[in-house]
């Protein structure tokens, strides 16, 4: 696999946050994060560092709070009625929940790819890629170049370059998901959160997306939720194992480098989970 040389952090010249002395920003730190739904505690004191240019995988059985944790990282958690949270999430040292941070701005800097591909069905492929920029009223000088670059980074360009005016919904499931990745990358995020991006896809589409992750991880901090142990081992530099037990809401049992979690876990439950003995 060839890894693309680190591209300039913001080739499209779109994000408002570039120009930080050449360092690509995007280090994310969760500090004692807890979450409630309608007053019920579902996630308890989760602390995790997600350093820039590394891929972090969140693993664990269903219902252990991985997705909730992921949604807290770009303020999508608060969209759910009755959802609350505690603790801090620091993006390059600043709490994204502090009063002077706006949710829309945070979501532009921390993008998200969902479990099910959800391209906008009423927009063409081109417009899907540009939608995030359009939503924020960003002016783009060369739309075509941006579309091509983002689709190339998402590994979709060769398949769709002759039908950019087709609707997003006309693509196959795997292509739709890569379109969603291109759409998320077009805004120029520093962090990309992926919530089981391959769970609805076939193996070859999954491989394309894993290659995409490998290509973008130099520019973008990637956090990925996955149920697939092999995938976690393939793409992730570090892993965090989440678990919700009886009388205990979701929490991190163990976090560390991928090799440590899979080959030499300190906790018995982690060993059981990664070796497929439960979950």
């Amino acid at each position: 696999m060839t890894i693309a040389p680190p591209a300039p952090p913001d080739p499209a010249g779109t994000a408002s946050t570039n120009g930080r002395g050449g360092l690509s920003p995007g280090s994310l730190v969760a500090d004692e994060v807890s979450a409630w739904f309608s007053g019920r505690l579902v996630l308890e004191s989760v602390s995790l560092e997600m350093p820039k240019s590394l891929v972090t995988a969140l693993i664990g059985p269903s219902g252990c709070g991985k997705s909730t944790f992921l949604r807290i990282l770009n303020r999508m958690h608060e969209v759910v009625p009755g959802a609350e949270l505690g603790g801090q999430v620091l993006l390059d040292g600043r709490d994204i929940y502090s009063a002077d941070m706006r949710a829309t701005e945070i979501r532009k800097r921390i993008g998200m790819v969902f479990q099910k591909p959800n391209p906008f069905p009423a927009m063409t492929i081109e417009d899907n890629v540009l939608s995030g920029l359009r939503f924020s009223g960003t002016k783009v000088r060369n739309k075509k170049a941006v579309v091509q670059e983002m689709l190339e980074r998402a590994g979709l360009w060769n398949e769709v370059k002759n039908r950019l005016r087709a609707l997003g919904g006309e693509l196959s499931g795997g292509q739709q998901q890569r379109l969603c990745i291109a759409r998320a990358l077009a805004v120029g995020p520093e962090v990309l959160l992926m919530d089981e991006p391959c769970s609805a896809l076939d193996p070859s589409s999954t491989r394309r997306i894993e290659e995409t992750i490998a290509e973008i991880k130099n520019d973008v901090t990637v956090v990925i939720v996955t149920h697939n142990m092999q995938q976690a081992q393939r793409v992730a530099d570090q892993c965090a194992f989440f678990l919700a037990e009886e009388n205990r809401p979701g929490h991190i049992v163990e976090a560390g480098t991928t090799s440590q979690i899979f080959e030499n876990p300190t906790d018995e439950r982690t060993a059981d989970y990664v070796h497929g003995r439960f979950g």
């Binding site: 007053g39 359009r134 805004v187």
Partner: protein, 411 residues
Amino acid sequence: MTIAPPLELGRPAPESAPEPRSLSRRRPRGFSKADLSLLVVSGLSAVCFTWFLFYQLTVFSGAAGFVITSILAFLGIYYLANRQLYGRMAAADRVIATLVTLGAVAVAVPLAMIIGFLVERGYHLISWHFLTTDQRGVTQLAPASTGGVSHAIVGTLEQVGLAVVMGAPAGVLTAIFLNEVGKKAGGNPGALPEDASLFARVSARRAQALFLLARAIRVVITAMSAIPSIVAGLFILVVIVLGLGYGLRGLAGSLALAILLLPNICRTTEEVLKVVHGSLREASLALGATEWRTVWSVVLPTARTGVVTAVLLGIARVVGETAPLLLTIGSNSVMNPNPFAGQQESLPVFVYTYRGLSRQADIERAFAAGLVLVGLVLVLFVIARIVGNLRPGSLQQLLRRLHLAPKEALS
């Protein structure tokens, strides 16, 4: 055509088929000629049976009875014949399929009869002259071909157009509130645990307030959609026309029509917005879009065909309304293109008035005007369908080419 040699039982098919097999098409579910002849024969025998029953055995009479008895006899014969040939299951399946088809045809028959009747009575009067002149200077003894209904056409278009301008945005906005704001709510402050935070309490109260407001609005909308149209007309007559001394004019009629239009559009639009998947809203928010931007750029375009249909159904609901207009627009036999001053005519009111007159020429004019009204609705439907089915983006392209759309922020 070559036929593959028959395979011996229990042996796999030869792996390398040297002869290319010709592509013969098979249609397992086709409707064969035998089926068609069975259908025709069953129909004929049903008619014969009914004729025998009506005119030989008994003294029944009447066309309606004949048709109904024929259909029943046909179903019975068709079932028996099919059962004999294909078995009980297939026979039941075919009879049900026939019943469903007959039901659809039965709905279309009255519609075709209404239109056919209108065409028969009114078509001979339809001419360019009829569409472009009003009733100015038409004397008592003038033949039906003098004068026309242009004043009523213009009146109807203006009254319905103004009603849509007033009612449709209000209806769509209300639907957006009900579906995008009020539905998210549903917080239950009573169910919060003892140690719930202030934020949880406040947000649950806010959600509950929005939810209750949405529910109240939904009740109002439901009640509004049940208002008899003449009551809407009476309301405008008493409050606006007489109460405020506004007088009879086109705009008063538009107000009455808007009252009828709003709940209709609102309810249909709400149903349409419900279908837009929540994951699209999340995708938009996750890209940094605000809530209104999400509604404007994602939810409404996704539901565009449905929203256009909702407005269309609303127009269809009011374009033929007579009662509220009778009370609010007055009447006028000459062209008054200004809906804001002076009495106007409309096509339904024209039909109603002229059908009530005693002279043959006026009654003919009423039928022709009715035909014009139906034609107008048809034209509106076709336009709305074309707009609704345009590929996303092509409408903007069209408008841009016509220099009607503002320059896009991106270009």
